[in-house]
């Protein structure tokens, strides 16, 4: 095992792949519908596609946290939790500040 690399990155890779594929599929259909002139339903699917993409990095942190917890890597589990708190706080703060 290379230093720093994990034995099983399965859950993280799966989260990223699912997020990418779902978002891509929704956006492709949305663009096709928009080109066909079906603007309203296209817009709804486009919003869903963008939101799935925006949620993916957050879910990726949760996936990594679960993975580190399973591997009993307490230091990295803590890093994941802190990261999650930072990202969520930043977004709430950012929106509120405006």
């Amino acid at each position: 095992m290379k230093p720093g690399l994990l034995q099983s990155e399965g859950l993280v890779a799966l989260t990223l792949r699912l997020g990418a594929h779902t978002s891509f599929a929704l956006l492709l259909i949305a663009v096709a519908l928009a080109l066909a002139g079906l603007r309203d339903i296209a817009m709804a699917l486009a919003s869903a596609g963008v939101l799935v993409l925006l949620a993916t990095p957050l879910l990726r942190i949760v996936a990594a946290m679960v993975m580190f917890l399973k591997a009993q890597d307490m230091k990295m589990t803590l890093v994941s939790v802190v990261l999650l708190v930072v990202v969520i706080t930043a977004s709430i703060l950012g929106v509120k500040l405006h």
């Binding site: 990155e9 890779a13 956006l27 993916t56 930043a90 950012g94 929106v95």
Partner: protein, 264 residues
Amino acid sequence: MFESALSILALMAIGCVAGGFGSLAGLGGGAIVTPLLAIYFGLPMHQAIGVSLVAVIATSTAASSVNVEKKVTDIRLGMTLELATTIGAAGAAIIAGHADRRTLALLLIAFLLYSSLSMVKRAWTSRNEELQKSIPEYKARNYPVGLAASLGAGAMSGLLGVGGGVIKVPVMYLAMGIPLRVATATSNFTIGVTAATSAYIYYGRGDISIAFAAPVVAGVFAGSLLGARLAPKIRSTYVLSLFVALTFFLAVQMIYKLATGGIR
């Protein structure tokens, strides 16, 4: 609301180029999306940055889903650095909300020129480069330097809608002793969470236009798939040279547009 069919296709093409650079050279592509939208689509700077952030998340997600599986991404290192990139990104995104378009445009021009010049060297040295097949053993060192650079890269991301790889990759490679391939993959991995942090703030402010983001992001995904297929057949020198030319051209265009009042 969606624009005309022609502009939808043009936006997809922009995303496709950005996604292609992402998977071919590990370049975020954000450096291209923000200026293209501001110059040719007349999108206000804040909205151009917002859409670019979403495109950057897409590049990172698409590339990382492959890189993590191939075990070239150092997840531990990446997530540790993310502690700094996210704080930088959040701070910068909040500041960007109060910055005027001229300041953002000038910063973007400086960033484009820096990216262009820094890649000239990499394009030149990669002429006879063999693809690094196996990853050598390594141990990350100089964490304070890496974290400081990550804070800066995160801030750059939140301010300009770029990935910040041009800062992180050299620092990881030269100062932290990370092999180049791992540094590139890990930087790409961290970009997703970093850009997402500022994207949430831009979204909350109403600076992410779905009508623009949807076709660009669809293009990014298509471009990354295409890039991954072409990667074994294209020399990285050509890709990097094209990137240098494009970013330099966009910097000049931005200067011209800013001087003539064409940047909203």
